[in-house]
């Protein structure tokens, strides 16, 4: 990871790391600072909203009373032991979500500068110009770690400025930084494995999901499982109530090992290909490929299957645990309305919040899906199709509709997974229909979010990427609104605030129809604009 010491003439694999570093920084001179500032500002918002919410010890005590030992919250966020102080409450709510976001950030930066560059054939140019084969990866790791470190310093300053205890604040930001670094190394490995940037991101996403899942299982069951997860390690530092520094050894060691392993793999593989070589396929096309819609479906197939599988399995696991929660809750009196504000049934409230979280996640799929025409455009494949007798709108709309149908389907299947998981454990499948409907009811918010992406795509190819910023904004609104304090009008800006908290409340379809209609309007507008604009 250090700067190369060998002179360029020696042809060390690290030769040119400095150039690669400058090149990447120049390319991201705007994006990276913006992301780092965004990460800092987001935590700043959190902190500001807590100081208002939990300003007095009485507020904190009531928070503690309301959430302590609630296994649903423990599974979603983490153990509640530290909630008696403002620092502990802040750490409880920020550490898991900021850690996951840091991991996702690391994933995007590393893939963008390594596998994505290689896939587009640009890294060959650098290599041909005499750059060492490890230079780009080394520079990328340095840049990603640097950006994470800057964000961590920013968070630390935020905490200090708000009057949090210095040592514990440092431990908290170090724990989050550790997660980011571990996933920097993990992504560095994943980009060696597969030849495609998209698949590499999918792999890292699975690892992040697994880490979250192990942590949740460990916190609600056998503790050892949490120790298998980088998110568990961060949590085990217990900032602000039992400051433990030594678990930081784990992320530090893992980062070094993963980065070293990634470099080792990179030295041994061919440029342009992954460790997993694509197998030969059929010489003739399956009839389904010979129809434009069938072909678009094929292009999206991998991500549809992956996401559906993930949501279903996740739903099943949560459903199975859900019953467990009910059992514990019946014997627990410390539970108050904080979590189950809208319903007598705490499990249904828990499921409602799960639906919202996963609907936000599935919007990631939907945006990716409706923006397929955009990615075909930027990868210079669209012209090959659009030069044939295939209308621009017909083609793009096909992709959009596939993404809409698939996202609704996967949310319904998530509900099915929940119901089956619950049913297998309780033997009662009575909730199955309600849960499937509740999953499906999330679709309009997903469609509305994705239709805004369609609108941006219609405006210009360059504007399309802003859709991701929109999704991040909705996630931030949700995450702050669910724990902290935000003005109503800001909360109302997110489509996800308007989905009734089913299955905890009766389904009111009015907002769903309104959002569906709005999605249709934005989609139509996007398509009309797309028809009138140049192909990139």
């Amino acid at each position: 990871m250090s700067r190369p010491t060998a002179s360029p003439a020696s042809g060390s694999p690290f030769t040119g790391t400095g150039d690669a570093l400058r090149f990447a920084l120049k390319r991201d001179r705007l994006l990276l600072p913006l992301c780092v500032l965004g990460l800092i500002g987001w935590v700043g918002l959190y902190v500001a909203s807590y100081s208002g919410l939990y300003g007095t010890q009485a507020d904190l005590n009531s928070l503690y009373q309301s959430v302590t030992g609630n296994p649903a919250l423990v599974a979603m966020v983490g153990p509640t032991d530290g909630l008696r102080s403002l620092g502990g409450a802040t750490a409880w709510e920020t550490l898991p979500v900021v850690s996951v976001i840091s991991a996702i950030f690391a994933m995007f930066v590393v893939v963008r500068h390594t596998r994505a560059e290689e896939e587009d054939g640009r890294s060959e140019l650098l290599l041909a110009a005499g750059s060492g084969r490890l230079a780009t990866l080394t520079a990328t790791v340095v840049i990603t770690a640097g950006a994470l470190l800057l964000a961590a310093v920013g968070w630390y300053v935020v905490f200090l400025a708000t009057g949090y205890e210095a040592d514990s604040s440092l431990l908290l930001v170090a724990a989050i930084l550790g997660v980011g670094l571990v996933f920097t190394g993990t992504t560095a490995i994943c980009v060696q494995v597969t030849a495609k940037a998209r698949t590499a991101r999918g792999l890292v996403g699975i690892v992040i999901g697994l880490a979250y899942f192990l942590r949740a299982l460990g916190d609600t069951g056998p503790d050892a499982l949490a120790w298998l997860s980088p998110l568990g390690w961060a949590e085990k530092t217990k900032p602000f109530y039992d400051d433990q520094w030594w678990p930081l050894i784990l992320p530090v060691g893992t980062t070094i090992l993963t980065v070293a392993f990634a470099l080792w793999l990179l030295e041994r593989r061919d440029i342009g290909s992954g460790l997993i070589q694509p197998r030969p396929g059929p010489a003739r096309a399956h009839p389904s490929l010979l129809h434009p819609l069938g072909f678009s479906l094929r292009v999206q197939r991998g991500s549809i299957i992956g996401w559906t599988y993930l949501l279903f399995v996740y739903g099943f696991a949560i459903g199975a645990v859900g019953n467990n929660i009910e059992g514990i809750l019946e014997s627990s009196t410390s539970l108050t309305a904080a979590f189950a504000s809208a319903s007598d049934n705490i499990v249904d409230s828990y499921f409602a919040s799960i639906f919202t979280v996963l609907a936000l996640m599935a919007s990631g799929f939907a945006i990716g899906g409706v923006l397929r025409p955009h990615s075909e455009e930027t990868h210079d494949r669209a012209a090959l199709l659009m030069a044939g007798p295939l209308g621009k709108v017909r083609w793009a709309l096909g992709h959009v509709l596939i993404a809409y149908v698939a996202s609704a389907m996967m949310m319904a299947l998530l509900g099915l997974g929940l119901g089956l998981g619950l049913g297998v454990v309780t033997g009662d499948f009575g909730e199955l229909g309600t849960l499937v409907a509740s999953g499906f009811a999330q679709a309009p918010a997903i469609w509305l979010t994705a239709s805004l992406a369609v609108l941006l795509f219609g405006i210009s190819s360059r504007a399309s990427g802003a859709a991701w910023g929109l999704l991040v904004a909705f996630v931030v609104v949700w995450s702050i609104a669910s724990f902290g304090d935000l003005p109503d009008w800001i909360v109302d800006l997110s489509p996800f605030s308007h989905i009734p908290a089913v299955p905890a409340v009766p389904l009111d379809a009015t907002p769903l129809w309104i959002m569906t209609a709005l999605s249709a309007v934005f989609t139509t507008a996007g398509m009309l604009l797309w028809r009138r604009r140049d192909l990139l």
């Binding site: 070589q277 694509p278 059929p282 003739r284 010979l290 659009m386 007798p389 209308g391």
Partner: protein, 244 residues
Amino acid sequence: MSAVIEVDGLVKDFGSTRALDGLDLTVEQGQVHGFLGPNGSGKSTTIRVLLGLIKASGGSARLFGQDPWKNAVTLHRRLAYVPGDVNLWPNLTGGETIDMLGSLRGGLDPKRRQDLIDRFELDLTKKASTYSKGNRQKVALIAALATDAELFIFDEPTSGLDPLKEAVFQECVKEITGEGHTILLSSHILGQVEHLADTLTIINSGKTVESGSIEDLRRLSHETSDPNQPASLEQLFLQVYEPK
């Protein structure tokens, strides 16, 4: 009878940069028309306007007498296009890609498809992600040449092919011109153009510099240079672009 391609004073601006600045281009039915110009002179931009992929900022472009921007879908039934930089779907094999692209135009002639695959020696079972640039180009070439289009538009179609396959391409073009098809061939390989084209348009900085039959243009350069030597296209080319 109107020309297959008629471009008149075509202007295309990308923001503040003017890519085409009053370009003229006429291609008659049955011609092989060479389209020459240095990198960045506007060949691909002209072709993208002709394909209706981008909208002209000024002047006119007509394909079979129609506006390519408005009538893209109907016009595309009559033409086949091969870009210079072919990018394919990484998960599809070459064979799947050829069939899929062919299906857009209602399917390929199976005999012709097989014949082209044999001549270009393409392994159809490989995923596109493992193809070299040349092999990706072969996929697009086979998918185009196996159609029965009236007009073929090639934008530097052989920049990744080895000399043997380049010769195969030239053979194929000769075959289809024998059948009365029209071809617009943008190229940076003078020998290729000299070998295949009947007529020629040379452009620079988005403007047409010379246009006419190859013979006329040879004669033109003849007069201005050494009268005893038959001019080659290369001389002509250098003469046009010689900074004066």
